[in-house]
Amino acid sequence: MSSAKSVDLRQPFRIAAEELRENEEQWQAYESKGHCVVLAGPGSGKTKTLTTKLARMLAEDAAPPRGIACITFNSECAGELKRRLERLGVRESHYIFIGTIHAFCLKHVVLPYARLAGLDISDQVAVALPSEQEGIFEETFPEVYGSNTPPSGWRTAFDKYRRTHLDRGASAWLGDDADMAKLIEAYESRLRKRGLVDFDDMVLIGLRLIESHGWIRRCLHARFPILAVDEYQDLGLPLHRIVLALCFSAGVRLFAVGDPDQSIYGFAGAKPELLTDLSNLKGIEKVQLRFNYRTGQTIIDASEVALGETRGYKASTDRIGTIDFYKCPEGIAEQAERICTSIIPKALKRRDKRELGDVAVLYLDRNDGDVIEAAVRKSGMKFIRMDKGGPYAKTPLTRWIEDCAAWCAGGWKKNSPRLSSVIRTWEGFNASLRTESALYDLKLGLVRFLFSHRLPQSLASAWLTDMQSQLLKAAFKKETVLRDETVAFSGLLRACSAEGKLKDLTLAALGGQAGARDQLNLITLHSAKGLEFDVVIMMGMEQGRIPSWAAKTLESKREPRRLFYVGITRSRHEVHFTFSGFNLSPRGYRFDNGPSEFLIEVAKRLKQGN
């Protein structure tokens, strides 16, 4: 560490970088000069490596007016990256993009270039509301499949086909499933007739523009000489093709991070092989992080058994880790009750200062979520639920509202989140405003609202209603790009209303500033990716559910294995599995298939270990 002395304190990331130095592979990634793919297992310090490297590249390799685009899995991840970058001295600016692939394609490809490239897309891109998408899908469906087939349940396959068959001219487009291809074409043309695009459109149009126009690639390369991608394994084929087009034919430098073992969105079109193949391409520096800073070795070993792969990850802590199994023969409700009355209270007592916020219950679907939520409510524990059945959708707007809440709830004292960044995002939402006076009024309106609403203990609902009348109403009226956000906002407002699930939510809690530590986390396995907890409780671990009854081959069991693996590896100290040994079909039939085969494998391994 002789060089520690020469660290430039004006650049906080250089201090952070010193921590990477101890880990050979993290340091290698930090020092990389060309294309670099970092394969990062659970708890391996992935985000720290990514953010530190991003900060360095911004300072050294992509100085303004050029910059870096960083693609993330969802708005939540983007928010987290922004927060962590801010701690490294990197503020949001015109020169850095952090967001989803949809947002990237819309903002930096479709809006600036689509018209110039001759695409027939109106100036004001209007995003179809979920209800509109659904309506058009249901209208279109009978045209191809007839009116005897109900359209429900086809949407997932539709989305997947659309995201994995990218070359409409190729024989596979009609060859693989002609009906589906026709359905997609009919759906898109209906959407277009109404002047709308949906989220997949943004990416597909963006990809088409990037692949077919050298000048667009040149512009993107000039603007963003570096492309960073987080959670590569879940981003699917369109992103992969964008990466290939930009990084392997237009000179953009790639810094990608991900873990094929944590790829759990196959149903949506993701493929772990894309990342594996990418990392083996010529000209790519592949870095495999080896240490797990999160999880005890016992749990690591068990997770690898469940995954069915030997990765050889080493625990870098002296945590040992415990794994326990609970059979609840009465069914899922008994599991939920046991979790609330026994597993959680005992776990809380096992360690000093452990709070509800250190515990997460992970479940497979929202039905299970409803069951555990009811039990938790009954027991009187505070909780926060994060899944599609969660109280509201996490979108760029609701994420920003959380930031506003955090600022009003006391963030203003610490300048966290920064007022300037809250204002900047608000300006971004109001993209149609042109004049200085209009922008000034906009900022003034926001600042007035925020300053007069610094009441951490007030109820979120009143605050949101004020925000709606003082800020959002006008914006929703003017900005077509915010169309779909109106739905997200009403969802949030409804959840916080007197009839909603979050009727008692305070401003502080909405902002996640206070109270998070005393809230139990209820999360689907899919949403748990990227999170970590002292104690992880996985419920509903039945054969026939994970893996599902339909997954009979080794190959088809891979993704459920990865999902199971993701669950276990969220834990620092304790993993608890609950199961009943049977599961019920949607129509109520009972299948006695015993516990999940993954559970049995883990148990076997533990016995051998002992």
Binding site: A117, W215, I216, C219
Partner: protein
């Protein structure tokens, strides 16, 4: 990178100015035509040193002829387009999102000023505001933060060179000295400072100086009291090493005089030299990618020969550099915008950098340039040399009569005067192309070029075979002036008529013969008699004047050649009276006057 087009609507002199530009722009026009306004428009869009308060225009900045009171739909719009920036990634990063054409890339920035938020008429001054956007969609607004990234720096006009030179903070010498000072050895500098300090003490320690210093201090203390008294010393310069270099001053005339005593011309020259050096250095050090240097009336106080020398260097240096290494011509790092009415500067400007400002029919100012002109290199060279030698006279004209030679330049104005037309007053210039190669001139003055009304006056030049050279010459020029569609399927006779209607005028023989035949045989023969030293010529002249029908064209012309065509025309112009005039000359003059309108 360069600005490839400027468009200005509803601003001061400009109703709708739209002009294509090359790498540099030498903006030419008479006083009050709007040269400075054009530069100001560029500053409004580009100049990072202009505060936003300076970007806020006023009601009187709307086009003068716009009906008042103004309505909310009246908007001032100015845009600049950039081309040739693809090769530079920084430029591309800044401009790439503002493209209006993809291949080749052209980006556009637009400044608009209007009462955008006003609900209804009438609007008041406080309703007006500006914003700047990129590309062709108004919602791609450009913030002041982003504007600073645009690699442009419009430097102010050379107004107060002398003042700036003697003010350290503004002096262009300062950055140059600062740059040098970082390279000088500190210990050496300290030693020099020490020596200066000693030498200074030598002077200030003389009893007389000491006494004076004491006197000043006493008086100071008397005036303001001890609390405010300044600690005063006398000396030549600060004696700290750091400040030493900054106290270096420019002297002229071998150190005898300071800059303040320099003539305005010398001060301007110095200023320009220092600025040029500074900009070159900034680019060399990578601090700036590109600079737009605007110079207003650079001719101010400079002797004509100096003007030609200085600006020939300024504007053409790049051509030389490019010539030195054909493979990779260096990218110009500075684009120059000059406004001038000096023919000396105009005449040394490359053709593609010329921008002419002039009044259009609706009293607004329009602009033309020769950027879009398709000229062969040789033609371009010929034209530039011609403009150089004629001091660019053609470019300042409202209308041009293109003639073959010197003789016409004497005769045509004289005839015009006799017909009652004062060419100078009309802004009409007679330009000799020195032969019959009218093509480059016609291209330059035509619609694709500077669009200056003109006529061509050329000789029929009959041959003994019965053919003639004139008709083919005229028909050769016609395609440069009219569309192929309008000539298609036409007979030779019809085409010749079209040529005449387009301003290409033929006589029946040659100038002198046509003059003779139009009834000026007396003054012509008189002139021959006056000038010739050949006895037989005099006799012939007498014969012709007695019976004009006996004129032998070839003999007649040979006699005039003997005198010299120019010399002959020079004298003839003074001998003429009355309004007899060959038809083609009268028609040509009236044609151009009609075109000027």
């Amino acid at each position: 990178m360069h600005i490839s087009r400027i468009r200005i609507q509803n601003f001061r002199n400009f109703r709708d100015l739209d002009v294509a530009l090359g790498e540099d722009a030498v903006i030419v026009g008479e006083n009050k035509i709007g040269k400075s306004n054009l530069l100001h428009a560029l500053r409004l869009i580009l100049d990072p040193s202009l505060p936003d308060s300076g970007r806020q225009l006023r009601e009187e900045d709307f086009w003068d002829e716009l009906p008042r009171p103004l309505g909310k739909d009246d908007v001032i719009t100015m845009s600049v387009e950039f081309a040739d920036f693809e090769g530079d990634e920084k430029h591309l990063a800044v401009l790439g999102e503002f493209l209006v054409t993809a291949e080749p890339m052209v980006a556009r920035l637009t400044y608009v000023f209007g009462a955008f938020e006003a609900e209804e008429d009438p609007v008041t001054e406080s309703d007006y505001e500006f914003f700047i956007y990129g590309g062709d969609k108004e919602d791609l607004r450009i913030s002041s933060e982003f504007r600073r990234r645009l690699p442009f720096d419009l430097l102010p006009a050379l107004r107060d060179a002398e003042g700036d030179l003697s003010n350290w903070r503004k002096s262009p010498l300062r950055p140059l000295l600062d740059d040098v000072s970082s390279k000088i050895d500190r210990t050496a500098l300290d030693a020099i400072a020490e020596q200066i300090s000693e030498a200074t003490e030598g002077v200030t320690d003389t009893p007389e100086i000491k006494a004076l210093a004491g006197e000043i201090t006493t008086r100071l203390t008397d005036m303001v009291g001890g609390a405010h008294a300044l600690e005063m010393t006398l000396g030549f310069s600060p004696t700290e090493a750091d400040r030493l270099l900054r106290s270096l001053r420019l002297f002229i005339d071998g150190g005898k005089r300071g800059v303040a005593d320099a003539s305005l011309g010398s001060a301007n020259l110095l200023y320009l030299t220092l600025k040029a050096l500074e900009l070159e250095q900034l680019v060399k050090k990578g601090k700036r990618d590109h600079t737009f240097l605007a110079i207003e009336e650079p001719e101010a106080h400079l002797h004509p020969h100096l003007q030609r020398l200085v600006y020939r260097d300024f504007l053409r240096r790049r051509d030389h550099q490019a010539g030195a290494d054909k493979k990779e011509p260096p990218r110009p790092a500075t684009s120059i915008f000059m406004t001038t009415h000096s023919p000396h500067i105009v005449s040394v400007s490359p053709l593609k950098s010329l921008v002419l400002l002039r009044k259009s029919s609706d009293a607004s100012t329009e602009a033309v340039s020769a950027v879009g002109l398709e000229l062969e290199d040789a033609e371009r060279g010929d034209l530039e040399r011609y403009l150089d030698v004629t001091r660019g006279e053609m470019l300042f004209a409202k209308g041009v009569l293109l003639v073959e030679g010197e003789a016409e330049t004497y005769i045509v104005p004289a005839l015009a005067k006799l017909l009652g037309y004062e060419l100078d007053q009309l802004g009409l210039t007679v330009c000799s192309v020195g032969g019959t190669n009218f093509t480059p001139y016609v291209k330059l003055l035509g619609h694709a070029g500077l669009n200056i009304p003109f006529a061509v006056l050329t000789d029929f030049d009959p041959k003994e075979t019965g053919k003639n050279l004139g008709e083919d010459r005229v028909l050769g020029l016609l395609p440069h002036l009219v569309s192929t569609k309008s000539t298609k399927g036409k007979t030779r006779i019809e085409l010749l008529a079209l040529a005449k209607a387009t301003g290409l005028f033929l006589n029946d023989y040659t100038l002198e013969v046509d003059l003779f035949r139009c009834g000026r045989h007396k003054s012509i023969c008189k002139t021959i008699t006056e000038l010739t030293e050949v006895q037989i010529s005099k006799q012939r002249a007498e014969g012709w004047v007695n019976d004009p029908s006996t004129l032998e064209g070839k003999r007649f012309l040979a006699d005039i050649e003997e005198i010299g065509k120019g010399r002959f025309a020079q004298r003839l112009a003074g001998n003429m009276a009355g309004n007899r005039c060959p038809a083609y000359i009268k028609e040509a003059i009236e044609y151009v006057i009609g075109q000027i309108g």
